[in-house]
Symmetry: C2
Subunit: 331 residues, 2 copies
């Protein structure tokens, strides 16, 4: 196979973790676009620790300080990448990040969106599919964090599911095979509709845990799951999403997906005191992924005449909370 050039756009914890693994294949040249961690990574690369893959340093092929640099040959960039992995936070209410691919993609480029929530693919399809760019949709449950700039701690799980989105059926199989080859045994290639159900299913978990932590003042996952009234609420939110998904997507929820009760039971056993990522964002004053995790499912359901009362209440409350902080109110 000819050498393939892979660009990780948004080399935070998840992007750097999978990028570092892909780079183990001799046929792949993996580069990264960094933002806040640019200085650390361009000097020393990434330091990764993982219960599955051990402890290692990864020096990306090229480290770029912004997306445009990755398209500038004078800086080692390419006018057309083979693969671009987008692992930025999805904030469609703040910016349309599909525009960042300007000057980096062309006919045959595959863009893998490793992002949470619903509706993240459409802006990329709308902007790029007529140029021959192919969009892949991916969901991972890997738990990774960047504990300091360039230092990635992989906590547990490696599973990532990848599927074509509005492009030919087999697009992206090679990407999954590469992941399998470097040891991500549970990287899996899925058909498009199943991916949408996976996204809804993960959205059920995110929509329950994430905003509830922010609204209740920063509660850890395990504390919420062990509180009697809160556990009813969490199951209620997850069930609302799980019940709505088949009506919107048009297929049954796959039988092997965990039920709301199973997810809650598993959260109760998580003694890590982990805090949902949305609360981590809130605590550091960053924007939260409200639109892709709450706004999008509500909108998709409403278009089919279905209301999601719990989700809508949560969405309204957390948006108002963010709006008040943005306006400078002391909360």
């Amino acid at each position: 196979m000819a050498t393939q050039n892979v660009l990780i756009l948004g080399a935070g914890a998840i992007g750097a973790f999978y990028g570092s693994l892909l780079s183990r294949l001799a046929t792949l040249r993996v580069s990264v676009v960094c933002r806040s961690n640019f200085r650390a990574v361009s000097t020393s690369g990434f330091r990764v620790t993982s219960p599955t893959f051990g402890e290692y340093t990864w020096k990306p092929f090229k480290v770029f300080g912004k997306p445009a640099d990755a398209g500038n040959p004078a800086l080692g960039g390419l006018r057309k990448w083979d693969y671009i992995v987008v692992s930025t936070k999805a904030l469609p209410d703040v910016s349309d990040d599909s525009v960042l691919l300007n000057g980096l993609v062309g006919d045959g480029t595959k863009v893998v969106l490793v992002q949470n929530g619903l509706g993240v693919e459409e802006p990329y399809v709308a902007r790029w599919s007529s140029k021959g760019v192919r969009v892949l949709s991916a969901v991972t449950i890997a738990s990774c964090e960047q504990v300091e700039h360039g230092v990635i701690r992989h906590n547990r799980w490696t599973r990532i599911n990848v599927a074509p989105f509005k492009c030919p059926n087999d697009t992206g199989r090679d990407f999954v095979r590469w992941l399998n080859e470097v040891g991500v045994r549970d990287a899996k290639f899925d058909p498009e509709e199943k991916m949408q159900m996976l996204r809804w299913h993960k959205c059920a978990i995110n929509a329950a845990m994430n905003p509830s932590s922010v609204l209740s003042g920063g509660a850890p996952n395990v504390d919420m799951s062990l509180d009697e009234e809160m556990s009813r609420h969490l199951i209620g939110v997850m069930q609302e999403v799980i019940d709505t998904a088949p009506k919107v997507v048009g297929i049954e929820m796959p039988k092997e997906f965990a039920t709301a009760e199973q997810i809650l039971a598993s959260t109760k056993k998580n003694d890590s005191k982990s805090i949902p990522s949305m609360q981590q964002d809130w605590a550091k004053g960053a924007k939260m992924e409200l639109e892709v995790i709450l706004g999008a499912p509500i909108k998709l359901a409403r278009a089919k005449g279905i209301e999601m009362p719990r989700l809508q209440s949560i969405y309204a409350l957390i948006k108002m909370k963010q709006k008040r902080r943005d306006a400078g109110h002391k909360l």
Copy 2:
């Protein structure tokens, strides 16, 4: 008519306002039990300002520093009061305040509960009805605040509805007539079932506005009502309560009660930037009336096999928020 002895238990804004009006009748001797405002009131009485009744000072017949003193003849107390108006905050999860009537009531004493929420009457009936005490249930929409100890500002509205609760049909008509006589033209005597619908209806408003302000970081009523997503949520919560009430109480919601849309429209026009009382409590670190406004309707509905998804989510979130603050977490 023989002189009637009336005791206001919990002489905050609402209790002092109605007490000061009742005291205008020569046949009533109105005394008060104060807590934080005892020193100010026993020295100078209450200073009341009202758009309806003007500006005046009210010196209660007796001012007691605690409920037990009101039953101690050596301090001017009585072993049996004719009327006791209970206008304390209703916090059944913190304390059963019906016990405070110990030594103050006997056969024929009427207890008027001017409190928000649902289920406030039962503890009083359970403890006292076998002793011949009669319980009246009351709801007011008067907007009053105690701007400093002993200084009561009546903002607007005077309406108070009073009804017997599990006692003979006409019990308490005299109390309403007295209010009418001193100028509260919209004091109204209602049958028991209608009072329960009034309580549910007011609960719809409280359950929507109060916790939403706390969860969104202190938003004023008008700001919430003017926010598009929030207004959907507020209508959703009110509608959920309004739809549930007839199924629990067993009669239709009276046609003359405002709809959720009408309540929202009226809130949009309220340019006072008023903050819901629950948020005022939260801001000063006080306990919130979560049980009577949220817990009770959820429990009553559940006993009939009805779930209230929006209310339950709000209830779980705000309880968790309070629990975290009580545990000393920085929010």
